[in-house]
């Protein structure tokens, strides 16, 4: 009897001793797959950006699984999978799909939809589930001042849009001091303006003009006449394609000349040059990424960063394959793709897919990919990615800044409008 009791106790001891160890081992085992969830904007007002993001994510997942071999966890290569739903660019759908992705599909990370508003809409849901939320479409800096713990940004914040261009002018023309700011009165453009103003002052520029104009403006001559009187060396501004085009056209009408002109959103688009032809020569615009950038493993080594991901040309090929369309990716695709790479590096660094651990690893991560640099501050705000400055030269878009990405020199000062009317084009220095 005593012996049987002893035996039973022994078995119980063994069971209780080893079962937890078994479960600990089971937990530590690497997962069979890593699932990325995404309420994508495939229809509605952000459909174009959403489609690009979808292509970028698919391209980088393809690269990770088939070229990189998968995500290395616990000595095993784990493939990435992608689950997305179309949120129709609507906030009600964003929260319902994020809820589903986390609780039904059991994703390991959620990628945000496009725009600051929709990104903000999803954040409380991901926070309440302790889920990592990666932002490739919300540029508003205020997102990162709200105290969210699981959000990490890949897109450059709105305040950084004109920083690169200002740095470039500061370097190539230290004598240029007078800056004019004229932006559209919108949430995004005003955030860009605040950032530009702050950075310009830091570099020692004088803000000689600062004004906003309403959305849907049809006449900028009163504003531009006032701007002309301040004789700026450098004009930055814009908001959307239509007002950017109007800005440039009416500057030509009023013969307002400055050494440089940089317009957000409009100047980087091919339609801008098509609409303005020679008048667009020398005009610049900031972009998160442009096809043609020269980021490479070699450039990464030069600046002391790790390199990961496909080359630009590989990315373009995979993007076309992913979407099944013959279109060139734009910056929406590149930033969404780079976000996949950031997640992969962080998961490998954390050797886990636990959101807390990956979030902590993302905080310490610095790397370069085809998209450029990547680094975030404590709040998750992107601080390592520089915007590229694009300039129209002889009818072509040339990346003139930063130096590690440039495809040509800058044409500075740009030709005057009178010269452009006679057919003069922008030629690099």
């Amino acid at each position: 009897m005593k012996r049987s009791i002893f035996k039973a106790l022994f078995v119980i001891f063994i069971l209780f001793g080893f079962l937890p160890a078994y479960f600990t081992l089971a937990e530590a085992k690497s997962p069979e797959k890593i699932l990325i969830g995404h309420p994508a904007c495939l229809s509605g007002k952000y459909a174009k950006a959403g489609e690009q993001a979808l292509g970028g994510i698919k391209a980088c997942i393809d690269w990770v699984n088939n070229v990189y071999g998968g995500v290395k966890l616990e000595g095993k290569k784990v493939p990435l999978k992608y689950k997305y739903y179309d949120c129709e660019s609507k906030k009600e759908a964003v929260t319902s799909f994020i809820g589903r992705l986390i609780t039904v599909d059991k994703v390991n990370v959620v990628f945000s939809p496009y725009s600051s508003g929709l990104t903000l809409r999803g954040a409380p849901v991901t926070e309440s589930h302790g889920m990592l939320y990666m932002d490739h479409g919300g540029a508003n800096n205020k997102i990162f001042r709200q105290g969210f713990r699981y959000i990490v940004q890949t897109i450059g914040p709105a305040t950084s849009y004109h920083q690169g261009t200002l740095n470039m002018i500061h370097k190539i023309d230290p004598k240029a001091k007078k800056v004019a700011l004229a932006y559209e009165d919108s949430e995004f453009a005003k955030m860009v303006m605040h950032g530009a103003e702050e950075h310009a002052k830091k570099l020692g520029f004088d803000i000689v003009f600062k004004r906003t104009y309403p959305k849907g403006v049809t006449d900028l001559t009163p504003l531009l006449s006032a701007l002309k009187a301040t004789k700026p060396d450098f004009i930055i501004g814009g908001g959307h394609f239509e007002d950017g085009q109007l800005f440039n056209r009416q500057m030509a009408d009023l013969d307002i000349n400055s050494n440089a002109l940089s317009l957000i959103a409009a100047a980087t688009l091919p339609a801008f040059y098509k609409a303005l032809t020679n008048m667009a020569e020398g005009v610049m615009g900031p972009s998160h990424w442009e096809y043609g950038v020269k980021y490479s493993a070699k450039e990464a080594k030069k600046v002391g960063l790790d390199w990961i991901g496909p080359s630009q040309d590989e990315f373009v090929t995979l993007f076309k394959k992913g979407l099944g369309k013959e279109i060139i990716p734009d910056y929406h695709a590149a930033e969404a793709g780079a976000q996949v790479l950031a997640y992969v590096l962080a998961a490998e660094k954390a050797n886990s897919v636990a959101p807390d651990k990956v979030r902590a690893a993302l905080g310490d991560l610095k790397f370069m990919s085809f998209y450029g640099g990547w680094d975030v501050d404590d709040t998750g705000l992107q601080v390592g990615h520089s915007m590229v400055a694009v300039q129209w030269q002889m009818g072509k878009r040339i990346i003139v800044w930063p130096e590690e990405a440039q495809t040509g020199g800058v044409a500075y000062p740009m030709p005057t409008f009178a010269e452009k009317a006679k057919g003069k084009v922008a030629v690099p220095r």
């Binding site: 129709e88 039904v104 009165d185």
Partner: protein, 333 residues
């Protein structure tokens, strides 16, 4: 006595639908956010139906009342966040502000626009919505085009955990309460002198006037009631669930279009219609987005057209006619 109690029978299917939604949301994993979306659509339809369904007037600027309601809550939180010890009272103040602002706007708009009819009324209300948005942006009031983001303030006032529960659960419960209240008020109006007057003016406004009905008074009652629910809905579903306000998003006319579709799908002027319309609209969009992401609207649009063609009076309108002489008639109005 018997008659008095049967008066409220039509509320049974409405409340049953909301109860089932609530139970599914709480007990089936991963369903709460879907239920929250469905509740939003049902509440939107229920609130809009009070005016469109009962008067026949189409208010294309309806979203403006949701917009000002959202601002009411946002302003209460951002302006009063510094006062210590307010706690959850700030949410109550927010709802009062939302109600006040929506009432004020609806009285101002109603006094002018309700003198117009048909397309003229519809155009005038669109003008109010767009005008208000541009006024906020242009005059730079309430932080203008930059909008207000106030998650940090909510965290500060309520604490992180409470604020998180508020945004992901209690805001949806408030939407449910708004939907239920709107249904109750709709039935009260239908069964009272207000409802009879509104039915008369919907069928023939001039004849109603000749019969001595003060049509302006009853139109304003329906308009203000509907607007008040929109304001509360904006405060709960937009300001609390999503603690930010950007003018282009809260004055987006798309929401008015959705409200019209929901009411017409379910049955304009019926009590159960907005619930049925909201559920058909929300569920079909949701599952089509899951099964054919990116292409759901190609399927969804024909579904809407087919329903409208087959049931011109809406699904509930059709049911009402079918069960006219049966015991079910007392539940479906």
């Amino acid at each position: 006595m018997k008659k008095e109690s049967t008066k409220y029978y039509p509320l049974i299917p409405v409340f049953a639908a909301y109860l089932v939604l609530f139970l599914i949301g709480r007990n089936v994993p991963g369903m709460w956010q879907l239920v929250a979306m469905l509740l939003f659509y049902c509440a939107l339809g229920q609130a809009f139906n009070i005016f469109l369904g009962m008067t026949g007037y189409v208010d294309f600027g309806y979203v403006a009342f949701m917009g000002v309601g959202t601002y009411g809550m946002a302003l209460a939180i951002t302006k009063l966040a510094h006062i210590e010890g307010l706690g959850i009272a700030i949410i109550i103040i927010g709802f009062v502000m939302a109600l006040f602002m929506a009432t004020l706007l609806s009285l101002a708009v109603g006094a002018v626009a309700l003198r117009l009819r048909g397309a003229y009324f519809a155009i005038a209300t669109i003008g109010v919505n767009e005008g208000l948005r541009f006024f906020i942006e242009g005059a730079r009031i309430w932080n203008g085009s930059e909008g207000l983001i106030f998650t940090a303030q909510l965290n500060q006032i309520l604490g992180r955990e409470t604020a998180s529960t508020l945004m992901t659960f209690w805001a949806d419960i408030m939407v449910l309460i708004i939907a239920v209240s709107a249904a109750f008020i709709t039935l009260y109006y239908i069964r009272s002198k207000i409802g009879y007057a509104l039915t008369a003016l919907r069928e023939d406004e001039d004849a109603a006037k000749v019969m001595g009905i003060n049509v302006t008074k009853y139109k304003i009652i329906a308009f203000v009631t509907s607007a008040c629910f929109a304001g509360l809905l904006g405060a709960a579903s937009w300001a609390l669930k999503t603690p930010y306000v950007f003018p282009p998003e809260v004055f987006e006319i798309h929401y008015t279009i959705e409200a019209i579709i929901i009411v017409l799908l379910g049955g304009s002027g019926t009590l159960l219609g907005p619930v049925v319309g909201g559920l058909i609209y929300g569920i079909s969009k949701y599952y089509l987005s899951i099964f054919i992401p990116g292409f759901q609207l190609l399927i969804f649009a024909p579904i809407i057209i087919i329903i409208i063609v087959l049931f011109p009076e809406g699904v509930v309108g059709m049911l009402k006619n079918r069960f006219k002489d049966s015991a079910l008639a007392q539940f479906i109005i």
